[in-house]
Symmetry: C2
Subunit: 242 residues, 2 copies
C-alpha cells in the first residue's frame, strides 16, 4: 500500500504553503508545458488521478469539460477541493489509485500531476487507464524526473571549482527513496524514464510526447532560481494516446 | 559539418584498442540488450548508420540478411571494415550521415550504434530513415545517454562521505560538448532524451522501446567495474517502428 503522506499534518501544512498550492496551476512553472499536451476539453470526460486541491479539475470545467472526476487518496486534499474548487461538472472521490477501476471507453483525458512517483506499481494502473480511454483519448501526466528521485542524497552540491552539480547515483536501482521533504520519511518510488515509457507501451499506449521540463528564457528572467532546473530536470512530462 | 574524429590518428589508435573494437559485438556489454531490439533479419535489407569496423554488418549477414549497407564517414573505419568484415551481402560506403539519401520503402532495419550523438542535426536524418523503411520496418539505435553527455566535467567524483557521484549539470543546455576522450577536443552533441523521442515522433515513428542501459546481475558479477553504469547510465538504447 502506497504511503498517504498528504494526510500527515506536518506534510499537509507545508504542502499547503507551496506556490502551486496557494496560486494553483499558475503557481507551477511547468504548467504551460503540461497544458500544451492537454487536448481540447469541450464536452469531454476527464479523470484526474491525484487531484489534490482540484485546481486542474476546476480548470477542466472552465475549458468546457462535460464531466470531471477528481480522485485522491487524501481526505485532507479532498476536503479542501470540495470547499474551494467545486463545480457542477466536477465529482471528487476518495481513491487508492492502485485499486483504480474505471468503465471501459468512458474517458477522453486521463490526467495526473506529480502523483505517480508515489505509487509502487504502475502496470495495472496504466492498463486500467488505457481500457478506460476512448480510442484517440489521451493520458497526460507529470512525475518527478528520475534524475531527481535517483540520488542517495538529492540536493545540489558544489564541485571543487565551486560549480553547482547534482550528485547523481543509483539511477538504475529502482525502488523506494526516503526523503525529508516537508515532513520526515516521505517515500517516493524511483524508476527510470525507460520504465515509464515501456510500461505505457506494454499497456497499449502510443507515446505522443516526452518533455524533461526546463524553464523558458522568459521564466528564467522572471524567476532566476529556476536556473537549477537547467542543471538537472525535476519534472518529467509525458503524453500518450490510446 | 560534423567532426570526423575517427580519422584523427590519435583517436583512431585509441579507439582500435577498446574492447568493443578488439572483440566486436561481444566486447560491448550493452550488445545483448541492443540485439534484443533487432527483429529477425532473415532475407531482410539492413542499413548501418556509422558502421565502424563492420561488426554489426557481418553479424547481420550471419543472421541471414539479404543485403547490408554499412555507412561511415571515416575512411579509416571503412578500410578496416572492408578488410576484416566483408561478405557477399555487405556493401560499405563512405557517407556523411547529415547528407544521407536512401530509396523509399527499401529497408527493413536501420541500425546505428554510438554514432548519432556526434551529429549536429537529427530531424532530416530521422525523416530520411523513416521514408526509407518499409511499413513495419524498425529503427534501432544506441547513443551516449544525455546524463553522460550533459556535464561540464563528465567524470565521477566523491562526495563528502566518499560516495561516488556523477556531477550532473547543464542537462537542459543542448549543443556541443568538447571532451578529451582518446584524443583532445572530441566534440559530441548533447541533447535530452525528450529530444530523441520527440524528433522520432515528429518524423512519423512509433516509439517501441527505450532502455537506459545498465548491467545485468551476471554482467556485474563478471565485470564489477560495470557498477558505475548503475550510478549513471552511459548509453541510451531505442527502438522505433514505421
Amino acid at each position: 500500500m502506497t504511503q498517504n503522506i498528504y494526510d500527515t499534518p506536518e506534510f499537509f501544512q507545508g504542502y499547503s504553503q507551496l506556490a502551486r498550492s496557494v496560486h494553483g496551476l499558475d503557481g507551477a512553472p511547468e504548467w504551460p508545458a503540461l497544458r500544451a499536451l492537454v487536448p481540447n476539453l469541450q464536452g469531454r470526460s476527464v479523470v484526474d488521478l491525484g487531484c489534490g486541491f482540484g485546481w486542474f479539475c476546476r480548470w477542466a470545467q472552465e475549458q468546457g469539460a462535460a464531466d470531471v472526476l477528481g480522485l485522491d487518496v487524501s481526505d485532507n486534499m479532498l476536503t479542501r477541493a470540495r470547499a474551494t474548487t467545486h463545480g457542477a461538472a466536477i465529482r471528487y472521490q476518495r481513491m487508492d489509485l492502485e485499486q483504480l477501476q474505471l468503465a471501459p471507453r468512458s474517458i477522453d483525458l486521463a490526467y495526473s500531476a506529480l502523483t505517480l512517483h508515489y505509487l509502487e506499481r504502475l502496470p495495472a494502473l496504466f492498463a486500467t487507464v488505457h481500457q478506460a480511454l476512448k480510442p484517440g483519448g489521451r493520458f497526460v501526466f507529470s512525475v518527478e524526473h528520475p534524475i531527481y528521485t535517483a540520488p542517495a542524497r538529492p540536493g545540489f552540491v558544489l564541485d571543487s571549482d565551486g560549480q553547482r552539480i547534482w550528485p547523481l547515483n543509483h539511477y538504475a536501482l529502482r525502488g523506494p527513496r526516503r526523503t525529508d521533504w516537508l515532513a520526515k520519511g516521505v517515500i517516493k518510488q524511483h524508476r527510470t524514464i525507460g520504465d515509464y515509457v515501456n510500461v505505457l507501451i506494454r499497456a497499449g499506449f502510443t507515446i505522443a510526447h516526452l518533455d524533461e521540463w526546463a524553464p523558458t528564457p522568459a521564466q528564467l528572467a522572471a524567476q532566476p532560481a529556476l536556473a537549477e532546473e537547467q542543471d538537472r530536470p525535476m519534472m518529467l512530462l509525458m503524453a500518450a494516446a490510446r
